[in-house]
């Protein structure tokens, strides 16, 4: 059963275009040029119950905007979305009690108070009954190993500890749908790993539906079976992580270890030479030609070892991002406005 249904969802912003210089600033007091920036342009997506989906895309691709739309922070320009049957931007309390949004760069805990006070507040505003609240809180703080930090003011916690507190706060009301916007941003490798492990465990245990955006491929590889690539406000790919390589990369990377006496000459004939460090060489070869090329190589050279690999995922994805067309990005829309710059 689909938990999230999105159809033709669009969001555009009017952004004030300020030209350089003082004269332009003065003109800007009376006449301003706005341009429409299409942050999300026609997204269709269906997510089933219990899925763990990653949104992948460069900065400004529309990932966060999509999460904001789904959590009702902003209203769309057009299109529809339903999460558990609710229209998010109606902001009904019935909906707001059933999901959570965690943003890696924002905190919703009270800065000067111990986290347990913020948790208590969540208990009240989400109407969690005290027994359930205590049980959930103890479970979460045990899993995340932050039980003894509950009494410390939040401002005195490390970034990693704070993120764990944020997660706990967001999960206290046992949301059925969870939106995670870069939950591991700025964390060290150990803390990242902890959070990954926790999310994995939590999701398997509770079968909640999770949408996650992240720049760390490791997060995504560890957690999500399904990956949605968004670039320029459109969905470019929807499928498994390994499928990205199949669909977007026509190459294999072949690492060859030559025998000591081999000349290693004229390797360019076989493919693009990426690196030569005798007696090793790395060559990029068209996927369809791999077996043919290898046969030729083996017949002409003395080769001791061969490794055939897919290109690194990061590289493939970077190519996907940069290959997305750069057109119709903006449509200038001059507008007269008397709004002064306060």
């Amino acid at each position: 059963m689909p938990v999230i249904e999105i159809e033709k969802l669009e969001k555009s912003y009017s952004v004030y275009q300020k030209k350089e210089g003082l004269a332009a600033s003065l003109r800007g007091l009376f006449r301003r040029e706005y341009r429409e920036v299409l942050a999300v342009r026609g997204i269709d997506l269906t997510v089933d119950e219990g899925e763990f989906v990653a949104f992948l895309g460069p900065n400004g691709a529309g990932k966060t905007t999509t999460l904001k739309l789904l959590s009702g922070v902003i209203n769309p320009t057009s299109g529809t979305a339903r999460v558990m049957g609710h229209v998010p931007w109606k902001r009904e309390n019935a909906y707001r009690r059933r999901f959570a949004l965690v943003m890696g760069q924002k905190n919703q805990l009270w800065w000067d108070l111990p986290a347990q006070e913020s948790f208590r507040l969540h208990q009240q505003i989400y109407r969690i009954d005290p027994a359930t609240f205590n049980k959930t809180r103890d479970e979460l703080t045990d899993l995340l190993e932050i039980g003894d930090l509950l009494k410390q003011p939040v401002r005195e916690l490390s970034l990693g500890e704070r993120m764990k507190m944020e997660l706990t706060a967001a999960l206290l009301h046992s949301p059925e749908v969870l939106f995670l916007d870069e939950p591991t941003i700025g964390l060290d490798v150990v803390a990242q790993h902890n959070i990954q492990q926790f999310l994995k465990h939590y999701q398997e245990e509770r079968k909640v539906t999770i949408l996650l955006t992240s720049h760390y491929m490791k997060d995504i590889a560890a957690l999500c079976k399904r990956v949605v690539v968004i670039a320029k406000g459109r969905i470019e790919y929807d499928g498994s992580l390994s499928g990205i390589v199949d669909s977007f990369s026509g190459h294999k990377i072949v690492t060859l270890q030559f025998a000591e006496h081999d000349s290693m000459k004229a390797l360019e004939r076989f493919g693009e030479v990426l690196e030569i460090q005798p007696p090793r060489a790395k060559v990029r070869i068209d996927r369809v030609d791999v077996s043919k090329t290898l046969a030729a190589l083996l017949s002409e050279h003395t080769i001791e070892d061969v490794v055939v690999e897919d290109p690194p995922l990061e590289e493939v994805i970077a190519n996907v991002f940069s290959s997305v067309r750069d057109d119709e990005d903006v449509e200038p829309k001059p507008e007269i406005s008397m709004t002064t710059d306060h």
């Binding site: 902003i74 943003m103 760069q105 924002k106 919703q108 006070e117 505003i125 989400y126 709004t339 306060h342």
Partner: protein, 277 residues
């Protein structure tokens, strides 16, 4: 209903705790508020001495100072330091998102925060307030029979003006802060408001000292309810039907600003684009 009250209580309790975190700053801030009283006493003494008269625009020398002390009380209720600026900042920096995501009403939440703020303030300020009023009690001698010191009904009306003054101050400043949805930066606007508030709320001098047409103009504004009105009621300057009319107009302003803040919040959220990540 029980659940609502429990929620309000928790919000109130947590806001109170937060207020008390910075004890030093809090105590100092509270005490510093009383410094201007001393300068005001000197100022008005000088004004009366220079004029050589015992009454100015219907105010006896002592009662001007009593008036000033009373506006301290009404402003202790109606002033909302940092409210409008805080709301505008939350909008600009995206902190407001949490009120859109969580099942909690921002205006209600911040109102409880203010109640906690004031409660924490009074619990500390009651001592210096008591001391100052004790030291200055002679300025309250010779008030008319309609003053709050003589009549329980007037005293009740005075309390009502204080409570309404608090709410009016809250919703008025909240409305100003919500302009942040349209104008991102509201600092200059707040400066103008502060200036107008300073002169037109009666914080500087009793508003009934103003000549026409200024007096009538001030009457059309809600600002007088933030300082002048409670003090004038206490001193017995406003009585009978005039008092009833004043209270009704104040209530009408309050309802207007509650409605305005609500409408602005709903409209603002619709056009909000979720700045800041």
């Amino acid at each position: 209903m029980y659940a609502h009250v429990a929620t309000w209580w928790t919000i109130l309790r947590i806001c109170l705790e937060e207020r008390l975190v910075y004890r030093g700053d809090f105590a100092l801030g509270t005490l510093m508020r009383f410094l201007p009283i001393v300068t005001q006493i000197f100022l008005w003494t000088a004004v009366f001495d220079a004029s050589g008269q015992e009454r100015l625009a219907g105010y006896a020398r002592d009662h001007v100072i009593a008036y000033y002390l009373l506006t301290m009380v009404s402003r202790a209720f109606s002033s909302m330091p940092g409210l409008a600026g805080g709301i505008a900042r939350q909008i600009r920096e995206g902190e407001i998102k949490k009120f859109l995501i969580q099942p909690v009403d921002m205006l209600g939440f911040l109102l409880l925060g203010r109640v906690a703020h004031k409660m924490a303030y009074y619990s500390v300020a009651i001592a210096p307030f008591g001391l100052v009023f004790f030291l200055c009690h002679r300025y309250f001698y010779g008030l008319p029979a309609e003053a709050a010191t003589q009549s329980a009904i007037i005293f009740a009306a005075f309390l009502a003006t204080l409570v309404m003054g608090f709410l009016l101050g809250y919703f008025l400043e909240a409305s100003l802060g919500l302009i942040g949805f349209w104008w991102l930066e509201v600092r200059s606007l707040l400066f103008i408001y502060m200036l107008m508030n300073f002169f037109l709320s009666g914080h500087m001098f009793p508003l009934d000292m103003l000549p026409e047409p200024w007096r009538s103009l001030v009457d059309l504004l809600p600002l007088q309810y933030l300082a002048y009105f409670p003090a004038a009621v206490f001193l017995g300057k406003i009585t009978g039907t005039e008092l009833a009319r004043g209270l009704l107009i104040e209530a009408a302003w309050l309802i207007f600003f509650i409605g305005l803040a609500r409408v602005m919040f709903n409209r603002g959220v619709k056009r909000y684009s979720g700045f800041g990540g």
